[in-house]
Subunit: 395 residues, 4 copies
C-alpha cells in the first residue's frame, strides 16, 4: 500500500463512505434473530424505512445486494412471457433489462443516449400504443448510477395515468433513495428497489423493495416461481419484526442508526445538501472545460456527476493515477462509456470540505495524467459553495 496515512477519498457513486456512528453501531454483538430484542429491532428498521421511502405501504428488507432486490421486483409480479416496458437511461437500466430477459420476461426497451433520465412522453406514447394493456409493468431507473441522470418519476406516473394504462410502475432508486427526493406514495409508485450502500451510507449487503398494495395483490396470483424473493411470506412475518430466514442483523443495527442520522438532519436538508454539492461539482467541471455527461437540464443528479474525458484520453488511466497519487477512488465508465467517462460520487456522509478535497484530487490528477483542462475547477466549486446558502446551517 502506498497510502498509509490520511483518509482515503471514496468518491465513487456507492458504496459511499460509512459514517463512524454507523460502523460503531454495526460492531455490536449479534443477537438471537428469534428473540424479543430482535423483534424490536426489526420493527424499528421497517418503520424507519417507510419514512425514508415515504410510504404507508410495505417495505421488505432482503439480505442481498441491490441486484437481488431488482430480481425480487421482477419475480413477484411478472412471469415468463410477460411484457414490460423499460427505459434505457444507462448501464444499470440495461442490466435490469438483461436480467428481465434472463428471467424470461419480454422487455421493450425505449432507447436513450445515456445523457438524460427517462422521457415521460415516450413512455406515454408507448403505453397508448398498447391498447390491449398487455404491458404489465413500466420499469424506470430513478437515479442512473452509470450516468448521473435523474428520471422525473412523478411525470412518468402522470404519463401512465394520461395513457390510462394499468401497468405497475416499478422504480429502481438504488442510488437515489435518501440522497435525492423520493416519494413512493405521492408519486404513485408500485414497486421501488433500493440498496444499503448509497444514500443510506451502510456497507453493501441489504436491499429493499417498497411495495404498494396493488403490487402485493398482483403478486398473489402472479409472478414467477420464487422462494427467497417471495414477498408474501416476508410480509406475513415482518409484522412482528421477524423474517422468514436469518436476517443480516448487524446491517440492521447500522440501518437504524443511519435512519436516525437522516432524520436528525432532516430529509429535506439532506436532499438540499446533495443538490448544492452536485451544483458545485458541475461548476468545477465546467471550469475545467470538461463536459458533464448529463446534458438535460433538470435531470442532473444530486448523487454523482459523470465527466466526459477529452477525446483520446483514457478515463481509466486517469482514475488509476488519481488513486495512486492522491488516494481518491473515482467511478469508472461502464460498458458503452467505458474508459470515456469517470464518475464523481458526492453522496451520503459528505460535506463542503470533503467535496473540495475530492475535487482538488480530480483537478491535480488531471494534471498528473496530462489530461487537457483549465485550472480553476476547485475555485469555481468554492465560489458556488460560498455563494449559496448551506442547508441546515444558513437557512
Amino acid at each position: 500500500m502506498t497510502h498509509v496515512f490520511g483518509r482515503h477519498f471514496l468518491q465513487i457513486p456507492g458504496p459511499s463512505p460509512v459514517p463512524d456512528r454507523v460502523l460503531r453501531a454495526m460492531s455490536a454483538q449479534v443477537i438471537d434473530h428469534r428473540g424479543p430484542e430482535f423483534g424490536e429491532l426489526g420493527l424499528k428498521a421497517r418503520a424507519g424505512m417507510k419514512t425514508i421511502f415515504k410510504t404507508q405501504q410495505d417495505v421488505i428488507i432482503y439480505p442481498s445486494s441491490g441486484t437481488g432486490a431488482w430480481e425480487a421486483a421482477l419475480a413477484n409480479v411478472l412471469k415468463e412471457g410477460d411484457r414490460v416496458l423499460m427505459y434505457e437511461t444507462g448501464h444499470f437500466a440495461t442490466l435490469w433489462k438483461k436480467m428481465a430477459e434472463k428471467l424470461g420476461v419480454r422487455a421493450e426497451f425505449i432507447g436513450g443516449d445515456w445523457r438524460s433520465g427517462a422521457d415521460p412522453d415516450q413512455i406515454e406514447q408507448h403505453l397508448r400504443a398498447d391498447t390491449g394493456h398487455e404491458i404489465k409493468a413500466v420499469c424506470v431507473v430513478h437515479n442512473e448510477t452509470s450516468t448521473g441522470s435523474v428520471s422525473p418519476i412523478a411525470d412518468v406516473r402522470r404519463a401512465m395515468d394520461a395513457a390510462g394504462h394499468p401497468a405497475l410502475l416499478m422504480v429502481d432508486t438504488i442510488s437515489g433513495l435518501a440522497s435525492i427526493d423520493f416519494r413512493f406514495d405521492e408519486w404513485g409508485i408500485d414497486v421501488a428497489v433500493s440498496g444499503s450502500q448509497k444514500g443510506l451510507m451502510l456497507p453493501p449487503g441489504i436491499s429493499f423493495n417498497a411495495v404498494s398494495g396493488k403490487a402485493l395483490e398482483a403478486a398473489k396470483n402472479n409472478g414467477m416461481r420464487r422462494s427467497y424473493w417471495d414477498w408474501q411470506e416476508m410480509v406475513e412475518i415482518n409484522g412482528k419484526g421477524y423474517f422468514p430466514y436469518t436476517p443480516a442483523t448487524n446491517m440492521l443495527y447500522g440501518l437504524v442508526e443511519a435512519i436516525d442520522m437522516l432524520h436528525e438532519e432532516g430529509l429535506d436538508t439532506v436532499f438540499a445538501r446533495h443538490q448544492r454539492l452536485a451544483a458545485a461539482t458541475r461548476a468545477a467541471v465546467r471550469a475545467w472545460g470538461l463536459e458533464v455527461l448529463c446534458n438535460r437540464q433538470g435531470h442532473e443528479s444530486g448523487v454523482l456527476t459523470t465527466v466526459m474525458m477529452p477525446e483520446g484520453h483514457s478515463a481509466d488511466a486517469f482514475r488509476a493515477e488519481a488513486l495512486r497519487h492522491y488516494n481518491i477512488s473515482l467511478g469508472s465508465g461502464l460498458s458503452k462509456v467505458a474508459d470515456k467517462v469517470f464518475r464523481i460520487g458526492h453522496l451520503g456522509d459528505i460535506n463542503d470540505l470533503t467535496l473540495v478535497g475530492a475535487l482538488s484530487g480530480v483537478e491535480m490528477a488531471l494534471s498528473k495524467a496530462r489530461v487537457p483542462h483549465e485550472k480553476g475547477g476547485v475555485a469555481a466549486a468554492m465560489e458556488h459553495l460560498e455563494s449559496t446558502p448551506a442547508p441546515g446551517i444558513d437557512a
Copy 2:
C-alpha cells in the same frame, strides 16, 4: 432491558457469537468494490473458503443468507419438473424440500423421525430403484440445525456410487462447516451450501456454494431461469477477485479474519474442540435425567445439542425464563417439535468456561421454570472436560 451488565450467552445454534477480532475487522471503512485493494480481498476470501470447504474446485460467495445459497444450489442445476431425492432429517431438510417444490422441482422425500442423520442405505435403495436415472440430485443436510443430528456424507457418496447412480450430491452444511469435519473433494460432493453465521462466526449476511466441475458443467445447459444466483457469471468474474454485483465488502473483511483464526487454531483442533464440548453437553443432559433428541450413536452433532422437554412442560416457557433470568438465549424447537425441545448451541467462538457458564444457565433455569430434572448436569460436564484432553492444549 433487564440485563445491563454481564455478557449475554448466545447459545442458539447460530448466529453464533462473533469474536471481537472479527467485529473489529468488519468495522473498517468500506472500499471501492472495483478497485485493486478489493481484488486482493476477493481473492483472499475465495482462496480461504476453499481451504475451509477442503476443495480445489469453485467456491461462490453470495450476499444473502444461507437460504439464498439453498436456492442457488437448486436453481443452477435443476429445472421445473426435475426429480430430486431429499431426506427428512428435520425442519431445515423439510424447508429445503418445500423450497424445491415451490421452485417446481419434484422432490422425493425419504421420511425420518428427526432423531438421526440421513441413512445411506435408504438412499442407495431409492437410487437403485431409479433405473432410468431420472433423479438429478440427492440433497442431504450435513448438520441438521433443528435437531442436532449429523448425516454421514462420505457414506452417502459411497451409497450413490454403489447404486451406480449419476445424480449430483448436494449437501447443506450451513451449520456444519468450520465446526465439524467436512471434506468437499474427498467426499465427492457436487454442491455444498453454507452460511456465515455458524462455524465461520460472522454475522449473517453472506452465504456460499462450493461447486464441483461436474455441477458447473451440469449448470451450463440446465437449471432454471436465474440471474442473481447464476454461477456462471460469478465464476468468470471471481477469478480476479471481483463480483458481478456489489459484494458485501465488510462481511468479507470479517470472513478473511475468521478464516485466519480457524487456521491459527488448526481445523482439526477446531473440530476436536467442538466434539469435546458437545460430549460434555450430552453428559450434562444425561445427568439432568433428560433426553437428547438425536438417538443414533455417532450422529450426535458437535455443533448443537437438542434436549427433549419432559412431557407436559413447555420448552418455550423454559427458554423465556432462561432468557429473562439468566440472560441466555437458547434455540427453540421448530415446527413439529415446537415447544417440545430446546437447543443448546455450542459452536464457534466458545471454550470450556463459556460452555460451563451456559450449562449452568440451563440447569438453574430448569429449576426456575420448575422443570423436573436432577441436579448435577454442570458437574457432569465439568467432569467430562477434566477427564478428556483439551485439543490444542493438552495434546
Copy 3:
C-alpha cells in the same frame, strides 16, 4: 497464543472487562478539547461522577492511573513533615503509606493482619492520643484490592468525630467505587481517590479525586509544591467542562457511557448484584474446603474474593495452569501473601453465568494443578444463586 477461540475470563480484581458498549463509545474520533462539543462532554463527565461518588462537592478527573490520584490526594493537603494516620489493610494501604513517606510525610501506620478492613476503634484511640491535633489526615482504604476486605468508612468517620479530631478523612476507593456502597457526602469524607478500571469498567487511564469544601480550603494554603496534581486550577477550569491540560478525551467518552449504564441498572442494584455474586463465590470457596483470606464477618468484599492456598502449594503455579488451560486470569498474591493466595475478581460487567463459568475454571484448574480440594464449589455457588433473589430481576 494457545487460545484463539472463546472468551478470555478476566477475573482479576481490575482492570475488569470493559463492556462492548463502552469500548464502542471509546472508539469515536477524538475532538477538539477546547471546542464547544468538548465542554458538554466535560460537564457531563463531571456531573456524572458526582452521582457515582454521591457528592455535591467537587470531583476532579486526572489523565493518570489510580496511583496518580493517590499522589494528588496527598500532595494537595499535606506537606513535608506533616503527620498522617494510615491503616495497614493490605498491600495497597502499604503502598500508599510508602508513597506518603517518599513524599516526606510522616505516616503512622496502624498494623493489621491483612484479613479485615480498618478497625475504627483503633483509629479513635490513636486520634484521642493526638491531643495536639497534629495529625492532618486519616487515610483508609475502602476496598483493599490485595485482600478483599472492606473498611467501614462511615464508622471511621464516627470514630473521628467521637475523638473530636479535626483531621481530614481520605479514602482510597479505587476498587470499591461503583461496585460496592460508597457515599462521599453522607459519610463525611474529605478526599476520595478512585480509578477507571474497576467498577467503572473502563480501561485504566483516568483517575479521580472527590474533594470536600473543607479539603479544598485546606489545600489553598497548604500541601506540597505541585503542578500536575494541583486541585485549584482544575476546579477553576472544570466549571465549564474544560481542563487545564489535555484531557484523555476518549476515556471520557467511555466514562459517560459507563455512568449511563450504572444508572440504567441503578446503583443499588449494582451493589446488590456484586454482594450476591461475592456470596456465591465464598460459598464455592467453602465447598472447596479452602479458606477466604478475609476472616472478619461483614468486611468481605463484594468486588473480589481472596483465597488462601493449602500449605505447600504455589498459588502462582496454580494461576499459570488456570490461564494456560482454561483461559482465565486470576489475581496474584502481592508482597507478603505472594504465591500464598489468589484473587478472584467478580466486579463490573459480570452476571450469574459468567461467574459460574469463572468458578468452574478455578475448580477445574485446582484439579489440573493437583491442589487438594473438595469438588462441589461450582454447585455450591449455583445453589446460592438459585436460592437468593437476583437484584433487578426477581425483586
Copy 4:
C-alpha cells in the same frame, strides 16, 4: 449539533485525528496487566518508542497527558532552588517555565518574540556566563505548538558543548515527535518529553520521557521528592514489559499500531510528507495576503502553521464561524496572542486532499467572517502540491 453528516476536519495542532486502524486496535478488550500477554505488549511498546525517539537509551511511558511528562522531566533531575535555563519560544515554553517555578526551581528565561525557535547563540552566551556551572539543565521546546516555530536542537547541543557546560539538555517534543525530524541520541539530548496525541496519532492519555544514561544517573541522588513520576522504579520494572502501577493498556494497543504505521511509511517519508504539506499551507497563507507568525526562515514548523489575523479582526470569531459553517476545528491563539492568531494543524493522519479540504475551509470561512484577504490560497497550495514530489509516491 449542526453537522450530522460529513467528516469533521480536526485541524488543531493536536490532538490530531486518530487513524481508524488505531481506533480499532484500541477497541480490543483490556487484559491482565501482570499477565504474560501484557509483558509482550509492554516490551513492544517500549522498543517501538525507542525507534521513534531514535535512541538506544531509556524510554518511559506514563499514563498521563504530556504535561505530566513535563513534570516528570523536571522532578527527576531538579530540586528546589536549582537553576535552569529555559527559552521563551511561546505559550508552552512559558507554561513549562511556570511549572518549574511552581515546583521551586529557579528558571532563567531567555525572552523571545514568539516568532521563531530558540537561538543557540543566546543559549551559549548565557551558559558561558555561568562559570560556576550552577545551571543544571537547559530546557528547550522543539516544536512550539502555540506558534509553529521549531528550535534547532542539534545547534543547541553544539552551543552547550561550545560553552563547555555540563547542564542536561531537556527537550519538549510533545508536538514534534513522529512528525518532524528528531534524533535523541545523535543530538545529544538528555531528557525528551512527548505525548500521544500529536504525531503518534493516538488520543491523549499517555506521555513519554526519553532519558539518557547521564540523566538517569543524575536522577539517582537528585531531583525532588517524587513517586508517580519517579524514573527509577519504572526503569527497573519496564525491563520485562511491566509497569510499577496500572498502565493505560488500550492506549498501548494503539501505540503499537501507530508505530507500525509510521514504520510502514518510513519515518523519513513521514517527515517529508509533513514538510511538504506545511509548505503548501504557507503558500496558501501568503496567497491570502496574511502573515505566518513564524518569521524566521528554517524555523517554520512541519506540524502546524500559525496565521496572524489582520488588525482589528477577531481570530476567535473567525474560528467559531469556521466551525459552525464548515465543520472545521482550528487552533486558537494562546495567552499573549489570544484572538490575534489562529493555528492550522497539518500533522499525523493527513494527506494532500485532506489538507486542501482544510485550507478550503479556512479560505471560505475568511469570507464568511468578512476577514480581509485575497482569494487563491487553495489554488496556491494545490500548485505547491503539484509542483513538488509527493514523498513515498513520486520518489
